[in-house]
């Protein structure tokens, strides 16, 4: 059971939500909060690899999430909703790796077992 579930349901860049989710994930990790992160609906676009920001001034969400995945430990679990990935039409070969794919039941289990839910 997680203390905290961070649900990311919006795509990066059109809103600040994805960047705020990344900030709160890092904050939770830094404060030793046992955390589950779920990317669902348009949030799965956060996990698309090779997001190139050019000179836009934006932070690459895929690079930030990739670093989180690379350094995660037993206090942090990361999930992607399978149905949402199927709907967005991006092949899994174009996504980051290092997270668990969950179906509807898995999604419900992760969200339902957390004490606190933050939605971005």
């Amino acid at each position: 059971m997680s203390e905290l579930c961070i649900l990311v349901r919006t795509a990066p860049y059109s809103k600040i939500n994805a960047a705020e989710a990344v900030r709160h994930i890092n904050g939770a990790v830094a404060n030793n909060v046992k955390t589950s992160v779920v990317f669902v609906d348009d949030g799965v676009y956060c996990l698309k690899d090779n997001q190139e920001m050019g000179d836009s001034g934006f932070t690459s969400i895929s690079a930030a999430v990739g670093q989180i995945i690379e350094h995660k430990d037993e206090m942090l679990k990361i999930y992607m909703h399978k149905g949402s990935l199927n709907e967005c039409g991006i092949g899994s070969e174009r996504m980051l790796s290092g997270f668990e794919v969950v179906d509807d039941n898995g999604l419900a289990r992760v969200v339902g077992s957390a004490k606190t839910l933050m939605i971005f």
């Binding site: 600040i16 939500n17 705020e20 904050g27 404060n31 839910l117």
Partner: protein, 118 residues
């Protein structure tokens, strides 16, 4: 021992109904004797600046000033304040800069946690 309700408010005061909703929940919970904390994050910090002149809609600075007088605790994400150039002298009295560390302390002790964002 009273229960603790925390509201995470992350939207601006007048583009969404979240400010009105947060204020009404806080008012009702305070009236029932709950400890109520609003943690303002992202653009939510704009709810807690002084002397807003909004009419015809819930005026954020007015409603939250009254609720602070009734016991509402307000924490403002410090990074979000700096990010937006909001100076301390413009904060409502009783609304103070805070941190993610404090946010996670609050989530641990809260009985109810409500997200009001986009």
């Amino acid at each position: 021992m009273s229960k603790t309700i925390t509201i995470l408010l992350s939207t601006t005061p007048y583009s969404f109904e979240n400010t009105h909703t947060a204020a009404r929940i806080a008012e009702a919970a305070l009236a029932k004797g709950y400890e109520v904390i609003v943690f303002a994050s992202g653009d939510g910090v704009h709810n807690f600046t002084k002397e807003q002149k909004a009419k015809g809609i819930t005026n954020a600075s007015e409603v939250f000033s009254k609720l602070i007088e009734k016991g509402l605790s307000v924490e403002l994400c410090g990074t979000c304040l700096v990010f937006r150039g909001i100076k301390k002298e413009t904060h409502l009295d009783g609304a103070n800069p805070s941190s993610l560390t404090k946010l996670f302390e609050i989530t641990r002790k809260s009985d109810v946690f409500i997200n009001l964002g986009m």
